[in-house]
């Protein structure tokens, strides 16, 4: 496997919701690449389309959501039935068996709400073993053994007891560990984590983040980490993509994004984060204005009504592209007319 070759490559993805009140362009032209073993963080305010991007990849969108445009190229694993071929997930039937092999087998996913991501009426063991039966068919090992092994990996001291416990018997943090075990039992090469620690307290959050890094080192999977917490981004990410209103407005490696941000939205976002050092908090300011409602997207640059560097005549007419087209070291790619 070539490490320069992306595992997953999204090109100009547009996912829209057609509902009675109109069309919501939840994702509107997102391009992303995920490389083997690396962590890509997607950051952005609530409602900017992070989850819908993730659900588009796995083709598990809500009923009203449709992918209108774009490609999602996934390189299948060489050892699997796909024999290392590249498939476009947009072309697959979301209910078909090819897509179901990919879910949990090639791409695993964990969710924000550890309280409700397990069905309350089946045991933890049963629900994880179900994934093992679907994706570990080649192994000679009993699903139960696989599950117990994975539960031990994610930090359960007594896996055989956890096996027969119900979700309500576990704490939030333990449930999120169980969720990680369920996502990883199929040995996916990409793990999508949609705000996996937002619902947890800071101590538990730190434990889960450490666990994820450890598992990544052990299994070598790539992670798409969705969050709105820049602190978590700094801790986890290799690459960062900043989203605003369904678009990626800035992208780069983690150091460059934090030290040489270019897009006014990212600059404002960084200024709005409190620091530990009080001296640095002097310039703390929230981003002015509100996120526009989803039915009336601004023309031109989606950020222009809130942008301190707004250039009339340019910013409200032409949509800025993510430039430079090819990533350069030491520079982020930004979608802003200041840099064209």
């Amino acid at each position: 496997m070539d490490a320069d070759q992306p595992l997953l490559e999204i090109r100009d993805l547009r996912t829209h919701f057609h509902i009675r009140q109109g069309t919501v362009r939840a994702v509107d032209g997102v391009s992303l690449s995920v490389f083997p073993g690396q962590t890509l963080a997607i950051v952005g305010e609530s409602g900017c389309g992070k989850s819908i991007t993730a659900q588009s990849i796995l083709r598990i969108l809500p009923r009203a959501g449709r992918i209108e445009h774009g490609h999602i190229h996934l390189q299948l694993s060489a050892g699997g039935p796909g024999r290392g071929e590249i498939v476009d997930l947009v072309g697959l039937n979301p209910k078909g068996s090819a897509m179901r092999e990919i879910r949990g087998g090639e791409i695993g996913m964990i969710f924000q709400e550890p309280m409700s991501t397990f069905s309350p009426v089946y045991t933890i063991g049963h629900q994880i073993a179900e994934a093992a039966r679907l994706h570990r068919t080649a192994d000679d090992i009993e699903p139960r053994e696989l599950v117990l092994d994975m539960l031990a990996h994610v930090g359960f001291a007594h896996p055989d007891r956890t096996w027969s416990q119900y979700p309500h018997e576990l704490s939030g943090g333990m449930r999120q560990r169980a969720m990680i075990a369920m996502a990883l039992i199929g040995r996916p090469r990409i793990l999508i984590a949609d705000e996996p620690t937002t619902a947890l307290d800071v101590t538990t959050e730190a434990q889960i983040l450490r666990l994820m890094k450890g598992l990544q080192a052990e299994f070598g999977m790539a992670i798409i980490f969705i969050t709105h917490d820049l602190g978590v981004v700094a801790r986890m990410a290799d690459q960062v993509a900043v989203m605003y209103l369904g678009n990626i407005v800035e992208q780069g490696d983690v150091d460059t994004v934090f030290h040489a941000p270019r897009h006014p939205y990212l600059k404002a976002l960084l200024r709005s984060v409190p620091r530990l050092d009080p001296a640095e908090n002097i310039g703390l300011e929230p981003i002015s204005g509100m996120v526009p409602d989803p039915f009336s997207r601004p023309a031109g640059c989606p950020f222009h009504p809130r942008c301190p560097e707004f250039m009339p005549g340019t910013c409200d007419t032409a949509v800025p592209q993510l430039l430079p087209a090819v990533a350069e070291p030491g520079r982020t790619r930004a979608a802003c007319h200041l840099y064209t």
């Binding site: 659900q55 796995l58 598990i60 809500p62 009923r63 209910k95 068996s97 179901r100 092999e101 990919i102 879910r103 949990g104 087998g105 695993g108 996913m109 969710f111 924000q112 709400e113 409700s116 991501t117 397990f118 069905s119 309350p120 009426v121 629900q127 179900e130 994934a131 679907l134 994706h135 119900y166 309500h168 969720m179 369920m182 996502a183 199929g186």
Partner: protein, 329 residues
């Protein structure tokens, strides 16, 4: 789990006693009693009042004693001797009147539960998973009609349609020639031929109701994170729907068991009269009107007991289905 069941059953006994007291007070509540009704009727028709009979009855049932003594007499007769008293109106032991009718009521209730389930379960699931499809709209329309049509009207329409199109007489549960026959295969077939009418009539409103509840519950559940999580691990859509959200949305089916009996009793009396069914409804209505207190009381008591048993069964099933209830969280 065993503990839970034992607890529920222990609770069942005091509840029965409370209900028996309520029933007794209830049937005493209207002014006067059967004897005064009889006396009045005899006086009106200028008949000689048989003083000896009146006194005999008064003594036998302690009608001149205080209420709590009457109750104790009544309940101890039932509990220790299986003696439910006599029906004044029918002039025979209550037990001889109620058992067969109760049995038919239970048969019809269970039958209509099964009918309701078989029809509403697949339709409700389909309609939720195909929201806003043509079929879904059709089901919603049927739901409104089913809920809005009074049962007795539906019964009349069916009977009229059966008679004028096919020449069927659809009242009762048997054709006249089988009415007094012993049980045989032919009689059973004849029963089935008649049984579907009351089942449809009694089940339509319940079916419409349950479809509506199942559909809206399932629509809620379909959006839940655990459904998405199951989908994200690669479970096939068909298996996923039945194993995850339906399993949760099914609860009203189970809790419905407890409710069907009382509903049949209150709602089905008129249907039973229209369709001349040998159930408790019509007789009980009469007994209540003529203050035939031991008959009415026994009916009420038995039906309340059945309703309690229904609730008990549904609670136990719910606990079996949901570990959170089972473990008392």
């Amino acid at each position: 789990m065993t503990q839970y069941i034992i607890k529920r059953i222990l609770l069942f006994i005091p509840m029965l006693f409370v209900i028996s007291m309520l029933v007794f007070v209830l049937i005493q509540l209207p002014p006067g009693d059967y004897l005064t009704t009889v006396l009045m009727r005899m006086a009106e028709s200028g008949e000689e009042v048989d003083q000896a009979l009146i006194e005999g009855l008064t003594r036998q049932y302690g009608l001149d004693r205080p209420l709590y003594r009457q109750y104790l007499l009544w309940i101890s007769n039932i509990v220790f001797r299986g003696n439910f008293g006599r029906s004044f109106e029918w002039g025979m032991p209550v037990a001889d009147i109620i058992w067969e009718r109760l049995a038919w009521t239970v048969v019809l209730s269970l039958g209509s539960i099964v009918f309701i389930w078989i029809v509403s379960f697949p339709i409700g699931v389909y309609s939720a998973t195909h929201q806003y499809s043509f079929f879904d709209y059709l089901v919603t329309l049927f739901g409104f009609l089913g809920k809005a049509t009074p049962n007795f009207l539906l019964a009349l329409i069916l009977m009229w349609a059966g008679w004028s199109w096919f020449g069927w007489t659809m009242g009762g549960l048997f054709s006249p020639e089988y009415q007094r026959e012993a049980w045989s295969w032919a009689k059973f077939v004849d029963l089935l031929k008649h049984l579907w009418v009351p089942l449809v009539v009694l089940g339509t409103a319940g079916t419409a109701n349950l479809i509506r509840i199942l559909r809206s519950n399932l629509l809620d559940e379909l959006e839940k994170p655990y459904v998405q999580a199951a989908r994200a691990k690669g479970v096939s859509e068909f298996k996923l729907i039945w194993k995850y959200p339906v399993r949760i949305a099914i609860n009203p089916f189970i809790s419905g068991i407890g409710g069907v009996l009382p509903e049949l009793i209150s709602g089905a009396a008129i249907v039973s009269i229209v369709l001349s069914l040998p159930t408790t409804g019509p007789v009980m209505l009469n007994a209540l009107l003529s203050q035939d207190m031991y008959l009415a009381g026994s009916f009420l008591l038995m039906l309340a007991t059945l309703a309690l048993i229904g609730t008990l069964i549904s609670d136990i099933l719910l606990a079996l289905l949901d570990p959170r209830i089972r473990q008392g969280v």
